[in-house]
């Protein structure tokens, strides 16, 4: 193509003027820069590859050791590295229980806040309410952990349910606090989805005599449902991967229990506690955290992919 272009230029140029030879300028640097820029973009691939390789490699060593087998890992309910018993269920159930409590707080509150911000609030009110919610989202999670341990458990839970019924470390307080942490995420993602619903739909509903509530709940929310569902799934993934709140407030020690008022360590909490101590790289405890991390990685990856799929598959497209 370049050849043709040059031929065209040569043909069209009057013979008396010699053309400026643009091809004479070396543009070597441009190619180098293009390669550098590509590498910077591709580094993310290395990160992912490294994560997958590292997790699989160490988890392979874990499952290869004589104390462990895959059936025991996914089939039993005791996690006691000291006695060589590795059943992931106690860690899994507490992760799921804290996450579900968090969602039970964050989804209704976040959705309610989003509907208010998008459908009811005046632009001025939205102008100062949204930044406050963003502050809530910017608070580091370790601060929420402190909040769970020093306020939610002793003041709210032990105050309401009685000191003897609530353990100092318990899944409920971790879950509730996590719900507050995730609330802004659900609110802002849902609000984006609600605001994206075209105005004409609302006007149509109002024109048929619907009240603001009927318009919001029967027209706007269903139209934005894919975005809202995606927000809920992302929130779930955040809750599953959240570490500091559960490490501080949910308890230090795996326990197979469904009572949210009891202490039970989650997957992330266990990884943090075990790796925080000085463990030998050769020990089975060291490789065991990689096996847990592998499960965690795939859980969150699955949720994130699901969220993206839901958002695109069920999206209502207007014009």
């Amino acid at each position: 193509m370049e050849q043709e272009a040059r031929v065209a230029v040569e043909r069209s140029t009057p013979l008396s003027i010699s053309p400026i030879n643009l091809r004479g300028k070396p543009r070597f640097g441009e190619n180098v820069i293009e390669i550098i820029v590509f590498i910077c973009g591709a580094i993310s691939i290395f990160t992912t590859t490294a994560i997958v390789i590292v997790l699989f490699q160490e988890a392979w060593m874990f499952f290869g050791s004589p104390e462990v087998d895959l059936v025991e890992f996914f089939g039993t309910t005791t996690w006691q590295p000291e006695t060589g018993r590795f059943g992931i269920w106690p860690l899994m159930t507490s992760t799921l229980i804290t996450s579900i409590i968090a969602l039970m707080v964050a989804v209704p509150l976040g959705l309610g806040a989003a509907i208010y911000l998008s459908e009811y609030a005046s632009p001025q009110a939205r102008g100062y309410l949204k930044p406050i919610l963003e502050v809530l989202a910017g608070v580091p999670t370790v601060v929420y952990g402190y909040f769970a341990l020093t306020f939610v458990t002793p003041v709210i839970l032990q105050g309401l349910l009685g000191k003897e019924n609530v353990e100092i470390y318990n899944m409920l307080s971790a879950g509730l606090t996590m719900g507050i942490m995730i609330l802004p995420l659900v609110a802002s993602m849902s609000e984006d989805a609600l605001s994206a619903v075209p105005r004409a739909l609302r006007e149509g509903a109002y024109g048929l005599g619907a009240t603001r509530l009927e318009t919001s709940l029967r027209i706007v929310v269903p139209a934005a449902l894919s975005g809202i569902l995606a927000a809920v799934i992302v929130a779930m993934s955040r809750a599953v991967g959240e570490t500091m709140i559960v490490a501080l407030a949910a308890g230090a020690g795996p326990r197979f229990t469904f009572n949210p008022l009891q202490a039970a360590e989650t997957m992330t909490g266990h990884i943090a506690r075990i790796s925080g101590g000085d463990i030998s790289y050769a020990s089975i405890q060291y490789t065991s955290i990689f096996a847990i991390a592998l499960v965690l990685f795939f859980m969150t990856l699955l949720l994130n992919l699901l969220s993206g799929w839901v958002a695109s598959r069920f999206r209502e497209v207007y014009e």
Binding site: T48, Y116, L117, Y120, G138, I180, I271, A293, L301
Partner: protein, 421 residues
């Protein structure tokens, strides 16, 4: 939903209210609307209330009465002068006279007295000789509302103790290193550690993040590897931070130990759990964020600017460097600051790669062991005792004020530098 089912239960489908029914119907629907509006507002209010309670809890723990008891009255040691006014030599003399010879030699061995600063000697005197000990600590609310009760309790239980109002966040707290005694502990070395880690993180994440964004927006054509990179970056942003910690532990702390511990450069007294490992891990963590933010900023630069540049004969890189990047700068800066504040508050990955919870010295190279503010908060929160909770709250204030300042700068920059096309 419930409204719909109620309508259907009461009346046949397609029923239109007539006469007085219209008014009743409208009134009922308006009432329902008002109730739900209240529910929506209250869910927002609950969120704001949670934020207010969080701040209240932190402030409540940070200030309040403490009952202080000393082993020796400092006035007796110095003959009436306050300790702070003494010279370093006088302080050393006091120390020599009041601790055992073995302990004195140990202090000298840890760090020779001739090299110690006056503050460090003063701290030793306060710790070992005066023995200022906080025997009870109270929260702010209690201190303000129940002063008489606190005074009575302290008089009864600790007759020698003095009650004083204490702000756990103060100048000493900001400059002192970690200590196992809460009243003597500080976040000085944690602040420095945080700065070191952020510096390394951003040194790597800024150029790579911006160039990565440039690749995706300016250079990439719609090929399979472009789509792979794009999907991959979006998914990486959703990977839990603790997984990055695991990655850092296996790659930077273990596999590259000779590099990250500095053994390659002749540093001998270290393992891989260094500032460098932490910075590298954090860089990987914030990179997807940086790239996503840079992309958005670059995408906002209007196409006409690029076309004008190409029209004048500029090459691709000249266009990017002289026109696209300067115009995307406000957005990129905002994204950078937000990434930095994310890295600043992140705790989990640093716990996994093994930030030490008890480091008393100040880091002075990237191959040092380190601690950062969030790690101190984690550590102090998990210790039993009201005083540890108070210094945790004080450290939280330090962290939150820093983050707030960073975010305010980001918003300010965005507003100052924003251009409208």
């Amino acid at each position: 939903m419930s409204a719909q089912s109620m309508d259907q239960r009461d009346r046949p489908t397609g029923y239109l209210p007539e006469g007085a029914d219209i008014n009743r119907n409208i009134a009922a629907r308006r009432l329902r609307g008002a109730i739900w509006q209240a529910i929506f507002v209250s869910s927002l209010i609950i969120g704001l209330l949670a934020l207010a309670t969080l701040i209240y809890t932190i402030v409540d723990d940070t200030f309040g009465y403490i009952a202080v008891q000393t082993k020796v009255d400092p006035e007796e040691l110095t003959g009436g002068r306050p300790l702070e006014e003494l010279s370093k030599e006088e302080l050393i003399e006091i120390l020599r006279a009041n601790v055992s010879a073995g302990l004195f030699r140990r202090f000298d061995r840890d760090e020779p007295f001739s090299e110690r600063s006056k503050e460090s000697v003063l701290q030793l005197v306060e710790e070992r000789v005066v023995g200022r000990e906080v025997v009870a600590a109270y929260k702010l609310t209690e201190s303000l509302l129940e002063r008489e009760r606190i005074e009575a309790t302290v008089r009864e239980r600790f007759p020698r103790a003095k009650l004083e109002f204490h702000s756990w966040i103060n100048r000493e707290f900001l400059t002192r290193p970690m200590s196992s005694v809460p009243i003597l502990a500080g976040v000085g070395n944690a602040i420095l550690g945080s700065l070191w880690v952020i510096a390394i993180t951003m040194l790597l994440a800024i150029p790579i993040g911006i160039l990565g964004g440039v690749y995706l927006e300016e250079y990439a054509s719609d090929t399979w590897y472009y789509r792979l990179i794009e999907t991959n970056i979006n998914n990486l942003a959703g990977v839990p931070s603790i997984i990055y910690g695991i990655l850092g532990l296996a790659v930077f702390v273990r596999a590259l130990e000779s590099f990250t511990s500095g053994a390659m450069f002749g540093v001998t007294d270290s393992n891989g759990r260094t500032i460098l490992s932490a910075g590298l891990t954090m860089a990987l963590l914030v990179l997807p964020l940086m790239i996503i933010n840079a992309r958005e900023a670059i995408r906002a630069v209007p196409q006409s600017l690029r076309q004008a540049s190409y029209g004048l004969g500029a090459t691709k890189w000249q266009t990017v460097w002289h026109h696209v990047l300067p115009n995307a700068l406000p957005g990129i800066l905002t994204g950078t600051i937000l990434s930095a504040s994310r890295a600043m508050g992140e705790t989990a990955p640093l716990i996994v790669i093994g930030a030490s919870t008890f480091v008393v010295f100040f880091p002075d190279s990237v191959f040092d062991k380190f601690t950062v503010i969030p790690i101190q908060i984690y550590n102090w929160t998990s210790q039993p005792g009201a005083q540890f909770r108070s210094i945790a709250a004080a450290a939280i204030i330090v962290l939150l004020v820093t983050l707030l300042a960073l975010n305010a700068t980001a918003i300010l920059l965005r507003n100052r530098l924003r251009r409208n096309y």
